[in-house]
């Protein structure tokens, strides 16, 4: 067996006197694989995402990419790491520069990593990426404000895929979307997972969203993992009282008698 793509080993993050992340460990194997990070506000889930991207210093523990501690990466390897791990945020509006046409935003990573020279080949690749995420290629010439929320989120995903990442970090990717739009984005992620053998870390407060897309999940509370296991097991037979409480709080479409 090869090393997992991404390994967090007992990572700790502190902000002054707040212990934001406490001894959190997990592996993200080669795809197709989805790991869910479930938690409420302040549980530390987004801090973990930032730490994985190397954007928040660790107070303890290590993050390894393909077996190498990312804190030891040299410049060139760091660049390769940054290409391999791509972030998709909650709101496509923030990830897309409002002054840039959508096509230019999607091409930004291609340019930064010098993957395809500027010109018709790059434009063709952008068109391909937009089509892969279910957008008409003509949207490349539009500005973000001309797109709907769902279209912007698709464009953000196309932008992340443009550099051929190995892992996506999806931070509440559907939380700002209407429910019918959310359903289509979940379908898109499911399709990309199969077609690209994608690995991803999905951060969500929505248990049902994690359930649909993740093979395994962690439940976080106050920065610590309270439960970790295959998704079906964690959500169908939660062992920790907090997971049971979360599970019980989810309203389901059942009707009051």
């Amino acid at each position: 067996m090869t090393a997992p793509l991404l390994t967090a080993s007992a990572i700790d993050v502190r902000f002054r006197d707040v212990h934001a992340v406490q001894a959190v460990s997990f592996d993200v194997p080669e795809g197709p694989f989805g790991l869910g990070l479930i938690g409420e506000s302040g549980s530390g889930k987004s801090t973990i995402a930032r730490a994985l991207l190397g954007l928040t210093p660790l107070a303890g523990g290590t993050i390894a990419f393909e077996g190498t501690d990312i804190s030891t990466l040299r410049r060139g390897d760091m660049k390769a790491f940054r290409r391999a791990v791509q972030l998709v945020m909650q709101d496509g509006t923030e990830a897309l520069d409002p002054r840039m046409k959508v096509g230019a935003s999607v091409a930004e990573g291609i340019a930064a990593h010098a993957l395809i020279p500027r010109g018709p080949r790059r434009a063709a690749r952008v068109a391909e990426l937009l089509e892969e995420v279910g957008l008409p290629a003509a949207l490349a010439d539009r500005y973000p404000h001309e797109l709907s929320g769902g279209q912007r989120q698709r464009a953000t995903i196309a932008r992340a895929l443009a550099v051929e990442p190995k892992i996506l970090i999806l931070d509440e990717p559907t939380s700002a979307l209407d429910v019918t739009v959310q359903a289509r984005i979940l379908d898109l992620i499911r399709r990309l997972r199969a077609e690209r053998s994608l690995s991803y870390l999905l951060i969500s407060h929505n248990l049902a969203v994690v359930d649909q897309l993740c093979d395994a999940c962690l439940v976080l509370k106050d920065g610590a993992v309270v439960e970790h296991g295959p998704t079906a097991q964690v959500l169908d037979r939660p062992r920790h009282p907090y997971t049971q409480q979360l599970r019980a709080a989810v309203p389901e479409i059942a009707v009051r008698s």
């Binding site: 359930d211 649909q212 709080a249 309203p251």
Partner: protein, 257 residues
């Protein structure tokens, strides 16, 4: 209690909400479901008499216990708003005054409605107990309380004013799921104990199914289906309602692993 007939809200000739008929009786909870742009919030703003100040034109009829409100003066609206018809917003912190401690804000609001001195203080303490908030919260500023606390505070204000109609606009959408469950339980208790009538606006059909007696589904400014919650959620007659219901992710369905 509230009777809406042939309501039409328009901005510069564009109709954003058209509601042929909507009734709310004492102790009844009506869910108003729909996605962005469906007209559900515009309907609530009209019932609260705020559409005109936002630049909309409103026609039709909105009656409160037989009194026509559509042509009411702003002075009359100020008497009714808060006192008879109160609103609970999605982000209650945004509607509180950031420069006032919560206790001062509470008493000042009661004062605007002629409730002062010992009577005001007594009502405030009773209302806080009703929503399970500690009185120590009163010395804090809005930014020093959690979203769930701010939401309960907004509800306490409506309770203290003895508002008999509560318009709730996505009151739980910004809350964590365990906090959402607490707020839903609180609203149910208010209805039981005070007979408060509620218009509960939400994109979340599961929450509406849990709380409401009847549901009105809106899309693109129009009412497309309405009826008893059990009927609409179990046997929807409209394709869009069905699509909305199908889009809600459910734990245990569409699992990957």
């Amino acid at each position: 209690m509230i009777a809406v007939r042939d309501l039409e809200v328009a901005y510069a000739g564009n109709v954003v909400a058209r509601v042929p008929s909507l009734d709310l009786t004492r102790g009844e909870i009506v869910g108003l479901a729909g996605e962005s742009g469906s007209g559900k919030s515009q309907t609530a703003l009209a019932v609260l008499g705020l559409s005109r100040s936002l630049g909309a034109s409103v026609s039709g009829s909105i009656a409160l216990d037989g009194e026509e409100l559509l042509g009411a003066t702003e002075a009359r609206w100020r008497e009714l708003r808060g006192r008879r018809i109160a609103m609970v917003m999605q982000s209650p912190r945004g509607s509180l005054n950031p420069t006032l401690r919560l206790g001062k804000y509470f008493l000042r609001t009661l004062g605007l409605h002629g409730i002062e001195g010992d009577e005001a203080r007594r009502r405030m303490e009773d209302a806080l107990a009703d929503v399970s908030l500690e009185t120590s919260l009163l010395s804090r500023y809005p930014h020093q309380v959690s979203g769930g606390q701010a939401q309960r505070f907004a509800i306490a204000l409506a309770v203290a004013l003895r508002a008999d109609v509560l318009l709730c606009d996505e009151p739980t959408s910004a809350l964590d799921v365990t906090v959402q469950a607490q707020v839903v339980a609180l609203l149910k208790r208010l209805r039981e104990e005070h007979g408060t009538a509620m218009l509960f606006i939400s994109h979340d059909l599961a929450v509406i199914g849990d709380l409401a007696d009847r549901v009105v589904v809106m899309r693109d400014g129009r009412v497309i289906e309405e009826g008893a919650v059990a009927d609409v959620l179990h046997t929807p007659s409209d394709d869009y309602t069905r699509a909305l219901l199908d889009a809600v992710p459910v734990i245990g369905e569409k699992r990957i692993a």
